[in-house]
């Protein structure tokens, strides 16, 4: 049998694939985070909470309205995105003129409140959510037994990431947004309704997080804590990718997912800090992150 670094090639391929699947979640989450940061200069600490809300929305839609996975995939992000829009309109908007750390602190408080509320209502041990019947089962790839649902996650997240990137980087909308980041007043003086754009942006970011949440619901426990355990890692991904760089966030998400997956095989004890170690190294060599523009 062919061996790679002392493990069979087949197992290696399996682990690579699994890393890619996790990377899909990192990519989706860090994409949303990068959009919100890049365009609103807000470090969205509530991103984990919004991810969790997406999963919970799916669960609640099923439990109370009998709405299944497929409609939820659209509905939950819309609901969470709408909630995000409301938050932006009512609160975040007042913080744009201030030092960005106030945005960070506000969303931190928001995350505490939302997670606290769900913990209070639904306990901490989580809720069950089954896989959609159409994606149940698994295929034998020869080197591993791949649950079909996981394959779906990889495909759909790639599509969504690329679509979002195109939307932001390749359209006029993207130019407005990036310009508004730097000098919103001026862009407004040019005749662009910046406040509405910013609201939509935050809603988009929150919606992406919720989308990742719905994707995660059949894999992970739908628990109030699912976001907070993820958020810090995702922050690190965004820092490595270069804050505000959207493509950077996507690519880094996948790459670090794989890096983490491989660490789980070769040196599992380090798998929770490997991303931070990579971050430290990257920052030493390229302070702006892999894809970041110089500050």
């Amino acid at each position: 049998m062919t061996m790679i670094f002392g493990i069979p090639l087949q197992a290696f391929m399996g682990q690579l694939l699994i890393g890619l699947i996790n990377g899909s979640f990192y990519a989706l989450l860090s994409l949303g985070l990068a959009i919100i940061f890049g365009l609103l200069r807000v470090i969205n600490f509530a991103h984990g909470a919004q991810y969790m809300l997406g999963a919970f929305a799916a669960y609640l839609l099923l439990a109370y309205a009998g709405i299944g996975y497929w409609p939820s995939l659209i509905l939950a992000p819309v609901i969470v995105g709408f909630a995000g829009a409301v938050i932006e309109r009512l609160f975040l908007r007042r913080l744009y003129d201030l030092d960005p750390l106030y945005g960070l602190l506000f969303t931190f408080g928001l995350a505490l409140t939302v997670e606290g509320t769900f913990r209070y209502l639904y306990g901490s041990s989580g809720q069950p959510y089954a896989q959609p019947a159409a994606l149940a089962g698994a295929v034998n790839l020869g080197f591993m037994f791949l649950p079909i649902y996981r394959g779906w996650v990889v495909v759909v997240s790639l599509v969504v990431c690329l679509g979002t990137w195109l939307l932001i980087e390749k359209t006029k909308l993207g130019a407005y947004l990036r310009a508004a980041t730097e000098n919103a007043t001026l862009v407004q003086a040019f005749g662009v309704n910046v406040p509405v754009l910013l609201t939509l942006t935050y809603a988009l970011g929150a919606g992406l997080a919720a989308f990742a949440g719905v994707l995660a619901a059949p894999i992970y426990q739908v628990s109030p804590l699912m976001g907070s355990s993820m958020i810090i890692v995702v922050f690190a991904v965004v820092v490595v990718g270069g804050m505000g760089s959207i493509m950077g966030a996507i690519i880094t998400g996948y790459v670090l997912g794989i890096a983490e997956g491989l660490t789980k095989v070769f040196y599992p004890e380090a798998s929770n800090i490997v991303i931070f170690v990579i971050m430290a190294i990257v920052l030493l060599i390229r302070p702006a992150g892999l894809f970041g523009r110089d500050a």
């Binding site: 399996g14 901490s124 041990s125 809720q127 699912m226």
Partner: protein, 380 residues
């Protein structure tokens, strides 16, 4: 000479809003209140009062509250004490202040070992009992080769260590193990390693959401269908409920209590359910038992003086819905039977919360460390 201040006050100190809130939480407070009511609401002619606090998993808050309770609020005993750092800190304070504490929520055997106290008791379970139950008893059922998925911190190590000792002494073997980070979301990497190890049993030496996620993903990767067995080393009814039978079926675990064991326990379970909306796990029932026993001890001693009550607690047999024929060792360990349980298939579950088949009963003497060997300085 009766109760010193015209009142007997019991404090339930635990996590009510954090990760362990389902484990004990507010429901433990309810269990304590049920015990007081079942005892008649009074002891030695004075009323019994339950107070409670949420320590938020922070030992300094717990320590602050414990001191304040003992010093200024005439609390006579503090119970539950989820999380080992909290339990150890409060037990140290109780020892210094010569007050009673009874731990039902924490797992560490240190409470009745190195850190034991003449006034401290450990009631519902500990890591040793879990290891004996799941590790030892399961081998006898044929699960003789093991692979561990271990949370990478002291609690995980000690569960793995103790369990593999029992696996080996029961004639089984450990074919491997992998350490995963705490609060890990994705277990597929580790599960693949476990899968390819070919072990008959995959032991989950972790807790809470980590265990839930591992079980859920094991189902996804077809691990149980492939003939391997999952054994959770610290898992209770509350978490099985959160996971659902679909994902949890076939899982084995050890608890000191199951509501659907017999009529007596069913009756308690239903009463508890009526008040909390869920069936009790071993922490809830254990807290009920601890409060009840504490009141019995005061009654027997005729006083709420710490020394006298502690003496009674050590001597009185424990016989209630939680423990049948339990005894308390000189190190404060309450020794009672444990049950090896297996989660039913969805089709076999006859009613809500009907989750377990009892695979075996582990006698208390086997389940718990012999006080003489516990390392507690009070035992000689």
């Amino acid at each position: 000479d009766g109760a010193s201040d015209g009142k007997v006050k019991i404090g339930i100190l635990n996590d009510q809003s954090g990760v362990y809130a389902d484990f004990g939480g507010k429901s433990s407070v309810e269990a304590a209140k049920m015990a007081v009511e079942d005892f008649g609401g009074k002891v030695l002619g004075v009323p019994v009062e339950i107070v409670d606090a949420d320590h938020q998993n922070k030992p300094d808050i717990a320590s602050n509250i414990a001191r304040q309770w003992y010093d200024t609020e005439q609390v006579d005993a503090i119970m539950e004490l989820t999380t080992s750092s909290v339990a150890l800190a409060v037990q140290a304070i109780a020892k210094e202040k010569k007050k009673i504490n009874i731990v039902t929520g924490a797992a560490t055997t240190d409470l009745t070992g190195k850190a034991c106290s003449p006034y401290g008791f450990h009631w519902a379970y500990d890591t040793h009992a879990l290891a004996v139950g799941t590790g030892g008893a399961l081998v006898k059922q044929g699960g003789d080769s093991w692979f561990f998925l271990t949370a990478d911190y002291a609690f995980g190590y000690s569960l793995e260590q103790q369990t593999s000792d029992f696996v080996k002494s029961a004639g089984g073997k450990v074919v491997g193990s992998v350490r995963h980070p705490l609060s890990n979301q994705d277990f597929s990497s580790f599960l693949l390693q476990a899968q390819s190890s070919g072990a008959k049993v995959i032991g989950l030496a972790n807790a809470g959401l980590d265990t839930s996620n591992a079980i859920k993903q094991a189902a996804e990767f077809g691990i149980t269908q492939g003939g391997q067995h999952l054994a959770a080393l610290l898992f209770t009814l509350a978490e099985v409920h959160g996971l659902g039978l679909e994902a949890a079926q076939g899982l084995t675990l050890t608890e000191g209590y199951y509501w659907n064991l017999d009529d007596k326990s069913r009756e308690f379970g239903k009463k508890f359910f009526a008040r909390t909306g869920k069936m009790p796990n071993m922490i809830h029932a254990g807290t009920y038992s601890a409060v009840l026993q504490y009141l019995k001890a005061i009654d027997k001693a005729g006083t709420d003086d710490t020394e006298a009550v502690a003496k009674q607690l050590h001597e009185l047999p424990v016989d209630d819905v939680f423990a049948r024929g339990g005894t308390v060792g000189p190190n404060g360990r309450m020794i009672h039977d444990m049950y090896l349980l297996q989660v039913k298939k969805p089709a076999d579950s006859k009613e809500p919360w009907d989750y377990f088949n009892v695979l075996a009963t582990i006698p208390g003497k086997e389940a718990y460390i012999d006080p003489a060997k516990s390392g507690c300085a009070l035992v000689n």
